[in-house]
Symmetry: none
């Protein structure tokens, strides 16, 4: 078969099922007039009383398949992740799409839902990141298709049947583990947030990005599933004096970070699952090291090697990168922990409140140290604070959803949220952080976000103290 | 775009290209015999000398589109939901795929992960169901793409900008709500299981389906997000004497069920979100009524109408269908609640244990009445039971993950799990249920599942008491 002008037309969105339906009708008409046809109805055919004959049903199936197929070239541009379907004027008057007819048994989202993770305009797409659209977030789980990304050499594509994890160094017995082997060990699942230490990096000096997707979208929550790292470390046996562990990725960046053994034994996870299925390729398929509450870059993706040592490895990512430059010229190194942080996701930047009246303020809070104990919300730029409602489940090292009912008077308002975690740590203002750390450091901004609601209802990103 | 041999193969395999060609030939044959057709060739038609007429070219175009689409997303045919990528011999030696380069900002799963929800072989695809592949389940969240389905008239495709929910009957003020309007009310999110009352319907008399996907796959867990139904009912105002509520879907089946007002006010949810994004089309986009702990068919999808009354509505789905026929010829009606149930998902039917040694038994437990308090596991067909570990979070009306370490001796073993919920209800055996209810009823099978591990390591579905 070769490509024709017609198929170009077809793959463009103009191609309609209506044309195939017209063909379908014509075929039925002709069949009913053909004395040799099993569907012959004499000279004055009427509608088939018993529904479509089998061949007709196949044809409808083919149309549904076309719908998908058309959607795949079209929808990749129009609605990523969706299966494009014909929208009938009244869905009660026409049979719907059958089970597993056009999705192959794995569903996609609605073609009307167009939110995507957006890429930050880095020079290359391989060393880049994309933000989760938090403005539309609901509950605490981030859909896997919208989980934020940060890659240093692009997404590695790895065959899980040949991939291995090599564990060596100061161990009693160096070992290689296949993915199948790792899956044999007792499994642990945990709803957890991740956050890039660069989340908000543009916002230190002045408000820059316009939406909460830009200012805070480098954090997401999934149910991560895997084997406790301690299980594997116990399996190889740590030698006396083992203090650090190097984790190495199998991507083009060969991403490497040093992790204290104490943390590794406490709660790190060799994750092969995310939200009930295999970890997604862009999250490190087939194996990722989860380091709960620590900065995202330490959660090495496409994990292929763990080396045990008595000292840290001083890799590029903990010397040249991912250190915090202080005003006196020194740098904080190994600043692993992601401190408590919160943000109002609704209303947020670039939204428009149509009219005064009731709004439910909603947002997310999280802490690398454990559980969120309290979130306060101010609608007057920090003069007065009210306790927000924390929604179940409130889990350690996990996004927590908070809400607060708000009656907007129609006057200018500054919305802020401030969280407190189980250690008593209170989220600071951006100014407090900048005063202490200066403006040379781009990482670990966890200050209070301010959204200005103008009298016009327009919401914008501001700094307000 | 160019066609490849692969895509020919794919499209012919998945879409039955040969069948479309056969249809094409049949249509041509009939057109040529129809005196009213522009393509009429008299009584002895021969091949068209000048090639296909325009309509035929359209048809071929349609076929080409099928092929093209197959080529674009070979993965869609081979691996639904995946983005097909080249697998380099060593991913560290070549730049990976850039951010948002080939996925449009919405990611898919790995091309190596092929599990799908499988359709039960019903006569039509529109009134049918598909099962979640529980054998590979991890943690508690079901990926939205693998959530089980049960449709009575296919998946309705609905434009959310025009869709409305009409609430009327014994109310003070009948009202129509747009989706945007509903989203303005305070939001509630909740991790919850759903289960079809027909889950396991083939298993009453004897073991029938071979895998846990078949025996138990009509249950899934998502984080559902929406507005409490009580909010909307308070908004319209219930009139004195209001006792029942009719929920009606906007699909071709116009699916309807009666729900007690007490339940509606207690914990029902008008859900527009699932796992952090809009509810999926096959789960009722843009609006579904969640009825926590009650049989899945009451969770009306594509919800368009709520009518308040003082009596139940006696719809088809609560008279002819979804009643439980008892041995004495009477039927249980309005048997809403899904009682406590558990199942071992690993090891389970059709799996093969390669060798004696360590295995972690893993499974799911849930109860429509609330929280799971205990799961016991037996490896000797119920003679001895051990308490399994319940994994956090243990939430009410939600799947709970349990595990138990097991050293398989290599001898025949019968694996069973038995759960107890917060009310003290203990999951019965299938025999206890059958003795009480007979075998005329197909719904509400929540008996203990038995998996036989043969000395060969083969795992199979058995009944064992």
């Amino acid at each position: 078969m070769k490509k024709s002008a017609d198929s170009d037309e077809l793959s463009s969105r103009k191609f309609g099922l209506s044309q195939l339906q017209e063909l379908e009708a014509r075929l039925l008409h002709l069949e009913q007039r053909d004395p040799s046809s099993p569907y012959y109805r004499g000279s004055d055919p009427v509608s088939l009383p018993h529904g479509m004959p089998p061949r007709r049903r196949f044809m409808l199936g083919a149309m549904a398949a076309l719908g998908t197929a058309g959607a795949h070239s079209a929808a990749t541009a129009a609605t990523p992740g969706a299966i494009e379907r014909t929208v009938p004027p009244d869905a009660t008057k026409i049979q719907g799409v059958g089970v597993a007819v056009d999705d192959g048994g794995y569903g996609g989202r609605s073609q009307f839902e167009t939110e995507v993770r957006t890429r930050y305009a880095t020079k290359t797409t391989e060393s880049s990141w994309s933000f989760t659209p938090l403005q539309n977030s609901m509950g605490i789980v981030t859909p896997s298709g919208l989980h934020y990304e940060r890659h240093h050499g692009g997404i590695a594509t790895i065959d899980p049947t040949t991939h291995q994890l090599y564990v060596h160094g100061m161990v009693k017995q160096a070992k290689k583990f296949s993915i199948a082997h790792i899956k044999r060990y007792p499994m642990l699942s945990r709803l957890m947030f991740m956050e890039c230490s660069g989340n908000g990096l543009t916002e230190w000096a002045k408000p820059t990005l316009k939406t909460v997707q830009g200012t805070h979208g480098l954090t997401s929550t999934s149910e991560w599933v895997g084997v406790p790292l301690s299980t594997i470390l116990n399996e190889v046996g740590l030698r006396p004096g083992a203090k650090w562990l190097l984790a190495e990725g199998g991507d083009a960046a060969v991403m490497t970070r040093s992790i204290p053994i104490e943390k590794a034994m406490k709660d790190c996870l060799l994750a092969y699952g995310q939200n009930g299925e295999a970890i997604r390729p862009e999250q490190g398929y087939p194996l990722r090291l989860m380091v709960p509450g620590y900065e995202g870059n330490m959660a090495i993706k496409w994990l292929r090697r763990l080396e045990i040592s008595d000292t840290p490895f001083m890799t590029r990512e903990e010397t040249s990168k991912y250190t915090d430059l202080m005003p006196d010229g020194t740098a904080l190194q190994f600043s692993f922990l992601m401190e408590a942080k919160s943000v109002i996701t609704y209303p947020s930047g670039e939204m428009l409140l149509q009219e005064p009246g009731f709004y439910e303020i909603s947002g997310l809070a999280w802490s690398g140290r454990g559980t969120i104990k309290r979130v306060e919300v101010s609608v007057d730029g920090g003069k007065n604070w009210r306790d927000a409602i924390l929604h179940d489940p409130v889990l350690p090292i996990c996004h927590t959803r908070f809400t607060l009912p708000w009656e907007w008077s129609g006057q200018e308002a500054i919305l802020q949220s401030r969280c407190t975690d189980e250690t008593g740590y209170v989220q600071p203002t951006i100014k407090q952080l900048a005063d202490e750390r200066g403006l040379s450091s781009v990482y670990h901004l966890n200050g209070i976000q301010s959204w200005k609601v103008a009298a016009s209802g327009e919401v914008s990103n501001v700094h307000h103290y």
